[in-house]
């Protein structure tokens, strides 16, 4: 870290935590139960506050995922995944094998795909989190970009990031590569256009 002062800059080193430390801190009650934090490369980061649009998108997506997958796979909403010895982020949605070891947080080997809904956090999700997900070997990561109303499917993980990105906009849809029966319609998860969805149950 570089601390800027009036006269000069000073280099200091932050203490880095392991995922085990982080787990222990949770158990010891160090964090407020409602604290929105994640462990990213050994640092405890405050998550971006989520707005109404973000919450709505998570709700719609959760409905759509569980409707299509039924009991084929477990859908986690804003739960931690242990991706490294120093990394335990909380993706907005995470789909894992039903048989994963429930005594520990899920791992990349348990994971079919994860989704980050990005409103204010787009650059952080794209430049920091996606490369970490790829390096951890998560086979498929999605970004739902609320600002441009597009969704992106990132596949073929490599140490430095995903090799292939496919995107879709309004009235389009994209299928998962890891869960062949799953298809995401942009209009449904982003609630576009509002009129078609809001009346559908009546």
């Amino acid at each position: 870290m570089v601390v800027a002062t009036r006269e000069t800059t000073v280099e200091i080193t932050r203490h880095r935590f392991t995922a085990d430390d982080y787990q222990l801190m949770g158990e010891a009650g160090i964090f407020h139960p409602n604290a929105r934090v994640e462990l990213i490369e050994g640092e405890i980061i405050e998550m971006f506050p989520i707005g109404a649009g973000h919450i709505g998108c998570i709700g719609l997506t959760n409905m759509e995922l569980t409707r299509q997958l039924q009991t084929q796979a477990i859908v986690f909403v804003q739960c931690p995944i242990r991706i490294a010895d120093d990394g335990e982020p909380q993706p907005d949605l995470l789909i894992v094998r039903k048989e994963y070891d429930r005594t520990m947080p899920p791992t990349p080997a348990d994971t079919f795909l994860l989704i980050e809904v990005s409103e204010n956090s787009l650059r952080f999700d794209r430049t920091i989190k996606l490369p970490l997900y790829a390096a951890a070997g998560i086979p498929e990561s999605w970004i739902f970009d609320m600002k441009t109303a597009r969704i992106e499917r990132h596949t073929e993980p490599r140490p430095g990031g995903y090799a292939t990105i496919k995107s879709a906009g309004a009235r389009e849809e994209l299928a998962s590569t890891t869960l062949p029966g799953l298809t995401i319609s942009v209009d449904e998860v982003l609630g576009l256009p509002p009129t078609t969805l809001s009346r559908s149950g009546q």
């Binding site: 601390v3 932050r14 010891a28 009650g29 934090v37 952080f124 920091i128």
Partner: protein, 202 residues
């Protein structure tokens, strides 16, 4: 914090700890008792590795302080002091009242003076820690500047640091303002060949 990536700069916010959380983390075993860390403005910072000349200066200074103060004040060496609700630094020396409440960490009101022995840490000690000590109303803070072979006595604390600095070099000495019978000879704490005038107590 700004994280620079290949493409852009991303703003993220680190979780900041309180002094209470920091204390509980130590008790819960999250923080290694031997870890050289400090809580500075809510962030857990790794302390600089201390080299041989720093160690030597601490040893010599400990002789000088305990030799002159005897039992009039307690000399704590590389111990934590609680200076704010988000600040628990570990100065090289904290000289406190002998009757301070030993069930808690010492506080600024218990403190006559602190000393930072500065080798590679000079910039941080001067630009980050000294203003915090001043802001916490620690009445006197010293820097023993190894690279320049001089000592500095900072007095008259205010919110942004200290108003008055007195400096002494080889062959010179400086007295404390809070412990009037304490006088520090530069040659003694740096282990310079003693001259007749700087030799004390003989």
């Amino acid at each position: 914090m700004a994280v620079a990536t290949r493409e852009t700069t991303v703003e993220i916010k680190r979780h900041r700890f309180t002094a209470d959380e920091y204390q509980r983390m130590a008790e819960a075993g999250v923080l290694d008792p031997d870890a050289r860390i400090e809580l500075i403005q809510g962030e857990i910072v790794e302390m600089f590795a201390i080299g041989a000349s720093h160690v030597g200066c601490v040893g010599l200074t400990n002789w000088v302080l305990t030799g002159q103060l005897e039992r009039r004040a307690m000399v704590l060496v590389q111990c934590a002091i609680r200076i704010a609700s988000d600040g628990v630094p570990q100065p090289d020396f904290v000289v406190v009242r002998g009757d301070y409440d030993r069930t808690k960490l010492p506080t600024p009101t218990d403190t006559f003076l602190v000393i930072e022995v500065s080798d590679s840490s000079l910039a941080i000690d001067r630009r980050v820690k000294l203003p915090l000590y001043g802001g916490a109303n620690i009445r006197e803070a010293w820097i023993f500047d190894i690279p320049h072979t001089r000592i500095e006595r900072h007095t008259e604390p205010h919110a942004g640091g200290y108003r008055t600095t007195a400096v002494a070099g080889p062959g010179e000495r400086l007295a404390s303002t809070t412990l009037p019978d304490l006088s520090i000879a530069v040659d003694e704490v740096f282990g310079l060949p003693l001259t007749g005038s700087s030799r004390s107590g003989q």
